[in-house]
Amino acid sequence: MEEKRASKQCGGVLAFFIGVLASLVIGWWVFPQVIYSQKTQPIDFSHKVHVEGEGMDCESCHTFMEDGSFAGLPSNEQCAECHEDILGESKAEETYVNEYLNKDVEVPWLVYQYQPDNVYFSHMAHKGFECTDCHPDVGNSDTLPTYYENRISGYSKQTMKMWQCERCHAEVGTSNACYVCHK
C-alpha cells in the first residue's frame, strides 16, 4: 500500500513536470508561430536595386512634407517620376506599372511599424537617429522582410511597443509624460 502510494507520488511529479515541459515547448516555440500569420508585400520590391543601382538613399523616397510631417511611403506620383514607363525587365516593376500605376491605384504596402491613431509620432523629432535604429535595415536587401501580423491585435510583429518608446526616452533623457506621445 505504501509502495503504491510512493509510486503514485513519483508518477504525479513526473506528470507535473511533463505538463510544465509541454507548456514551455508550446509557449516558447508553437505559440509564437501560431499567433502571427505571415503575409507578403504586394510587390517584390528591391531596395538594393534603388540604393546600389541608382544611388538613392532613404530620404529619396521616404520624405518629409513641407509641414514637417513624414510622408511615409512614396505614392504613385513619386514613383512615376521614374517609372512612368517600364524601365527594366523585372517582373516586379512590370506588375507595379501595369497593375497599380496605370490603373491609378496606390500600392497597398504593408507597413511594418504602423502605430495606432492615438499615438502621435513625429519623425521630425527623431530625425537625429538612424532609420535603422527603429526600422528593419532593408537598404541592402533584394527582398522585403516577411510581414508578421498578430492574429489577435492585427498589428505587425515589428510594431514598436510603448515600453520600447519609454525605454529609449528614458535613456536619452526625454520626458515620458503621457502628452508627449498621446495628444
Binding site: 504525479g12 507548456s23 491585435s153 492585427g154
Partner: protein
C-alpha cells in the same frame, strides 16, 4: 504508470504552472487589450500631406472667408482667414464645422425626381436637365410663369439666375428676405444709389437700433472681429456700443448700454432721438429737411415717444447728447433677427447719420458703389435686393397673383424660413413644378419635384461681393478645396447649360468663367482672390440723400399697446435660414432654448404673471398664419409684454440632429405691409398666448 484522474490533474497543473513561464497568457492578454481598441466602427485617421486652401462658406447669413486644412486631400478643419477683409479672420459657428458638413447625413447625393408616394428616384444629370428644360421651354416668354428665389445675396450666381429669369421673360427673380432688402428700399426712397454700408472699423460710438450685430445683422463674424479689435481684452476701449432692442441678446450683452425698445419700433426710437438733436441745433443741407423737422418736432416729441415705446425723455436726451459729442458716431438700424424690418427703420437711422453729418465720412454711413455686373442681362444688385419675395408669396397665397408654373430655389429653403411659414409653404405648394438646387435635403427639397444638388461650399467655385453691412466695396472668390464627394453639379453650370438649350445666351460656358469675368470687371486679380485675399475698393456713390420725410410720415405709426409682441432672434450655432442645426453644434444648444423636443421662449416675470405662466409651463403662441407650442423660461432680460423666441428649430426635414426638435417660430410671424413703401414687413408681429 497509467493516466488516472490524479495524474491527469497533476499534468494539467504542471501545464498551467509551465504556461506562467511562457508568453502565452501575458502576450495574449496584451494583444487582447490592443484588439479591444480596434473596433471596426472606430474612425481611422487619414495620413498624408497637410495642405491649406482658402475658401468661402455661405452657411450663415453672411459669407465667411476660411482657410481649410486638409490631410491627403480631405478637409478636416476650417479656420478664419485673417488675410481676408470680408470676415477679418473670424469664423462663424456653422462654418467652423464646414469640413464635417461635407459628410452630413442630409446631403443630397445626386439629382433626383419625385415619383409616386412622394418618394425620390435618382436620375442622371442629363435626364434632370432635360426634365427642367422641358418644363422651362413650356413657359418661356410668358410673364409670371417662372419664379426664382436665391438665398445667396452676395454671389454672382444670383446675377446669373436673374439674367436667366430675364431671358425667360420673367421678372420674378428674388432674394430670400434679409436686412439688405429694407436697406435697398430705404436708399431708393432717400434718392441714393449703390449699397448702404457702415464703417464700424473707424467709428468711436455705435448705436445699434434693433440690429443684432453679434448674431444676425450684417457681416456677423466681421462685426465680432471689429468689436474685438476696438475693445481688446485689457486694452483701451476705442469704441462705445449702445444697443436698443427688446431683450438682452448677445449684442445688448456686449454693449456698454442696453435701452429696451419693443420690436418693430426702432423708427420711433430713432426719430425720438432726432427730436433731441434738432432741438440741440442739428441740421442738414437737404431739400426736405424742413419737412423732416416739422414731422419730428410735431409727432415725435419726448412725451409721445415715451408713451409709444416707454423710453424716458431723459434717456433719449442723454443718448442724443452722447451721439452729438462723439467724434465718429454711427447709427445702424435693422431687424432684431436679420429680416422683416421696414425701410423706415433704415430711413430713420439714416436721418440720424445725416443730422450728425456722418454720411460718406470715415467711421460713418457709406454709400458703396456696386461692382460691375458680370452678366449683362442681370438685374442690378440694388434692384434685386429691393424685390419683395415675401410680398410676392403672400400675394400668391391669397390668389392676388397667380402661382408660377415653375419655381426654382437656389441656396434657399423658403418652405421653412419664410415668415408666416405655413402660409408661405401653402403658396409654394400651389406651384406645379418646384425645383430645388439645395445641397441638403431641406424642407423645400423634400417637397420639390426635381432636386439638382449644388456642391458643398468647399467643393465649388463661388464668390461673394460686398456683404450687407460692411463699410467698403469688396469681392472674394474661391476655387474647390476638394473634389465633389457626391454627384453634385454647380447650379450656375446647370443654368448655363439649360439656358443654352433654350436659346438664351448668358455669355459664358462655365461658372468659373462667370466668376473670373466678374473679378476682371471689378478690377480684381482672380489668382489673388482664390488664394483668399479680398479685393477692396474705396469707390462710393454720391453722398447726397434726402430724409424721405413723406415716406416717414406715412410709414411710422405709433403702436396701440397692450399686445404681446414677438421678438424672434437668430443664433448661428443653431443654423441659419439655409442651414439646420449642424450635427457638431447640437451640444451648444442652450437648455433655455431647447430641452428634449421642447422649445423654450423667454419672458420676464411681469409678463409671465400677466399670461398666467411660470418657469417651464407650456404655452401656445398664435400668429396670423399659424401656431407654435413652447415652454416658458423666465428671463428678466426681456422687456415687458415681449416674448423672445429662438428661430432655427422645428425642422421637418434634414436629419436626426435637427428634425422634430422644438417648433418653427417663423410660423407665427405675421407679414404686414409697410405704409409708404408697400414692402412686406414682419418685425412687428404680435401673438396671442394660451
Amino acid at each position: 504508470m497509467g493516466i488516472d484522474r490524479r495524474t491527469f490533474i497533476q499534468l494539467v497543473t504542471g501545464g498551467v504552472v509551465g504556461s506562467l513561464f511562457t508568453p502565452v497568457i501575458w502576450k495574449s492578454l496584451d494583444d487582447a487589450a490592443i484588439w479591444s481598441q480596434n473596433w471596426s466602427w472606430i474612425p481611422r485617421l487619414k495620413y498624408g500631406q497637410i495642405t491649406e486652401h482658402a475658401t468661402i462658406s455661405k452657411f450663415g447669413p453672411s459669407p465667411c472667408s476660411l482657410m481649410v486644412k486638409s490631410v491627403a486631400g480631405s478637409p478636416y478643419v476650417a479656420k478664419g482667414n485673417a488675410e481676408n477683409e470680408m470676415s477679418k479672420g473670424g469664423v462663424d459657428a456653422i462654418s467652423a464645422g464646414g469640413a464635417q458638413l461635407l459628410y452630413s447625413p442630409s446631403r443630397v447625393k445626386g439629382p433626383m425626381k419625385k415619383v409616386a408616394d412622394g418618394k425620390y428616384e435618382s436620375i442622371s444629370w442629363d435626364d434632370a436637365e432635360k426634365m427642367l428644360s422641358e418644363k422651362l421651354s413650356a413657359v418661356k416668354g410668358q410673364a409670371g410663369k417662372l419664379a426664382i428665389v436665391s438665398g445667396d445675396a452676395t454671389g454672382t450666381s444670383s446675377e446669373v439666375l436673374s439674367a436667366f429669369a430675364a431671358g425667360m421673360g420673367s421678372k420674378d427673380c428674388y432674394l430670400m428676405p434679409g436686412d439688405e432688402q429694407a436697406a435697398a428700399v430705404a436708399l431708393e426712397n432717400m434718392g441714393g444709389s449703390g449699397q448702404i454700408g457702415y464703417d464700424l472699423d473707424n467709428s468711436d460710438f455705435v448705436l445699434l437700433v434693433g440690429a443684432d450685430a453679434m448674431n444676425s445683422w450684417g457681416s456677423v463674424v466681421r462685426n465680432q472681429r471689429v468689436y474685438a479689435d476696438k475693445r481688446p481684452t485689457g486694452g483701451d476701449i476705442e469704441s462705445v456700443y449702445v444697443y436698443a432692442g427688446p431683450f438682452l441678446n448677445s449684442t445688448a450683452a456686449i454693449s456698454d448700454k442696453w435701452v429696451p425698445v419693443a420690436p418693430g419700433t426702432g423708427s420711433i426710437f430713432s426719430l425720438g432721438l432726432a427730436y433731441h438733436m434738432l432741438n440741440a441745433g442739428a441740421s442738414a443741407s437737404v431739400a426736405d429737411f424742413a419737412d423732416f423737422k416739422t414731422l419730428v418736432m410735431s409727432r415725435f416729441t419726448p412725451d409721445k415717444v415715451e408713451k409709444a415705446i416707454g423710453v424716458a425723455p431723459g434717456v433719449m436726451a442723454g443718448l442724443a447728447k452722447q451721439l452729438m459729442s462723439a467724434s465718429a458716431p454711427l447709427v445702424i438700424s435693422g431687424s432684431e433677427f436679420g429680416q422683416g424690418a421696414g425701410a423706415v427703420d433704415i430711413i430713420a437711422a439714416s436721418a440720424l447719420n445725416m443730422l450728425l453729418g456722418r454720411v460718406g465720412e470715415q467711421g460713418g454711413m457709406k454709400l458703396l458703389a456696386d461692382l460691375p455686373l458680370a452678366v449683362d442681362a442681370a438685374a442690378s444688385r440694388a434692384e434685386l435686393s429691393s424685390r419683395d419675395f415675401a410680398g410676392y408669396l403672400a400675394a400668391v397665397a391669397t390668389d392676388k397673383v397667380k402661382a408660377p408654373e415653375v419655381m426654382m430655389a437656389y441656396e434657399a429653403n423658403p418652405v421653412y424660413a419664410m415668415p408666416q411659414a405655413t402660409t408661405m409653404a401653402a403658396a409654394i405648394a400651389k406651384v406645379p413644378f418646384l425645383v430645388s438646387f439645395s445641397t441638403w435635403m431641406d424642407e423645400t427639397a423634400s417637397i420639390a419635384d426635381l432636386i439638382m444638388p449644388n456642391p458643398h461650399s468647399f467643393e465649388r467655385f463661388d464668390d461673394a461681393q460686398t456683404p450687407y453691412g460692411v463699410g467698403t466695396t469688396m469681392l472674394s472668390a474661391c476655387a474647390p478645396v476638394i473634389e465633389p464627394l457626391y454627384n453634385g453639379k454647380s447650379t450656375v453650370d446647370v443654368i448655363l447649360s439649360v439656358a443654352s438649350g433654350l436659346g438664351i445666351d448668358l455669355g459664358y460656358e462655365s461658372v468659373e468663367a462667370v466668376l473670373q469675368a466678374k473679378a476682371e470687371k471689378a478690377g480684381a486679380d482672380w489668382d489673388s482672390l482664390v488664394e483668399g485675399v479680398a479685393y477692396v475698393s474705396d469707390s462710393t456713390e454720391s453722398d447726397s440723400l434726402k430724409f424721405a420725410a413723406s415716406v416717414l410720415s406715412k410709414a411710422v405709426t405709433m403702436p396701440k399697446g397692450g399686445e404681446i409682441a414677438l421678438a424672434p432672434y437668430a443664433k448661428l450655432n443653431v443654423g441659419s435660414s439655409t442651414m439646420a442645426i449642424p450635427p457638431l453644434n447640437c451640444v451648444t444648444v442652450s437648455k433655455f432654448e431647447l430641452q428634449g423636443k421642447d422649445l423654450f421662449v423667454q419672458i420676464n416675470g411681469k409678463t409671465a404673471k400677466k399670461l398666467n405662466a411660470s418657469e417651464g409651463s407650456t404655452v401656445k403662441l398664435s400668429g396670423a398664419g399659424g401656431e407654435c407650442v413652447a415652454r416658458v423660461h423666465i428671463n428678466e432680460g426681456v422687456m415687458n409684454d415681449v416674448i423672445a423666441a429662438p428661430l432655427g428649430f422645428g425642422h421637418t426635414a434634414w436629419d436626426e440632429f435637427s428634425r422634430g426638435k422644438g417648433d418653427n417660430i417663423a410660423k407665427i410671424l405675421t407679414v404686414g405691409t409697410e405704409p409708404g413703401t408697400g414692402m412686406a414687413v414682419w418685425t412687428s408681429s404680435f401673438v396671442s398666448v394660451a
